[in-house]
Symmetry: C2
Subunit: 199 residues, 2 copies
Amino acid sequence: MSPRNSVVETRRTRQRIVDRGLALASVDGLEGLTIGRLAADLGMSKAGVLGHFGTKESLQLAVVDAAAELFSEEVPGRAPASAPGLPRLRALCEAWVSYLERGLLPGGCFFTAAAAEFDGRGGPVRDAVAGLDALWQRDLRIHLRRAQTAGELPAGTDADQLLFELVGVMLSLNHALQLHRDPHAADRARRATRRLLGP
Amino acid sequence: MSPRNSVVETRRTRQRIVDRGLALASVDGLEGLTIGRLAADLGMSKAGVLGHFGTKESLQLAVVDAAAELFSEEVPGRAPASAPGLPRLRALCEAWVSYLERGLLPGGCFFTAAAAEFDGRGGPVRDAVAGLDALWQRDLRIHLRRAQTAGELPAGTDADQLLFELVGVMLSLNHALQLHRDPHAADRARRATRRLLGP
DNA sequence: CCTACCGATCGGTAGG
DNA sequence: CCTACCGATCGGTAGG
């Protein structure tokens, strides 16, 4: 048995805190996430929770990182391996729709919520959210451009325009699912994606 | 001069509170809006603010109503009068893009933010936001269907699918403006709208 | 519309 | 990782 305060146990506890924090923040927002409720939820003291992070802002940043890791596992990680360019792009979009459809987090897509919550402010949390969003869009843009130069898209296609519209499809999907529980939303997102990227 | 506590003065004060509350909530969210900060901002006491509403939830509902009124003035109210169906729909969408582009509220589109903030919860505020969103989408759907039966849209067009994609365009526009301050976002939204509704 | 106050909870610290 | 505590602020009330 490992001693109670071993490094591995400490890491495991930290992971438990962050995972639970991610679930709570997906419902109540990153600012609505409080150390007291998180501690009570985990059966720990506030000081025990905060000791792993030092400040609430550090905890928020750790939760943002965990959300990025989850997204990465569930979307690029689940998309079947496909050739770079259009095939990979289609696989990524289908995995993205599926991720939103499955509703892994109780409050829907964490990044959509965090972006809306922090987009009017400054600070490290806002920067982290914006940076991760930009990173994901850059990935998509690379595949779009490759598809374009490979002639996989109609002549004259504007890759950035297409990306703007793809992002809109996913935002609309999250909106319809979370606010209206629309059972047709995922089908609509798939049809819209097909219209943008071909069948 | 009207006496200090006349009905008209009371109404005016209430309006001042709600207007300021809307601006604050667009940045910090409806839950992040606190009675104390709102009071300090207005040079009033907390009790003076709360007296107009009774509870924070009532204040939140009043702010949601004010946001709906602003949207109504700025989008349908500014769209040039046009024939029902496709012409009116195009005018509404252009006014919608313009509303988001002008950034009237410091935190961007209030309804997008409120929808993301409350979509994982229950209660009267969530219901009010969802209801107003549904009302606006119903307006758009009516014009879409009229355009369809009038033969103003390509044969086989699915009005609900088109609506889903239009909403996505506006959500993507708000996202690009607020999170990334993308200067091309409004142009992209206009191009996407033209692709959906014709030139 | 104010002052004065309530109990609860906030983020965070001291000390072990 | 805990208990015990800090000052600040929360939503809300009493009484005028």
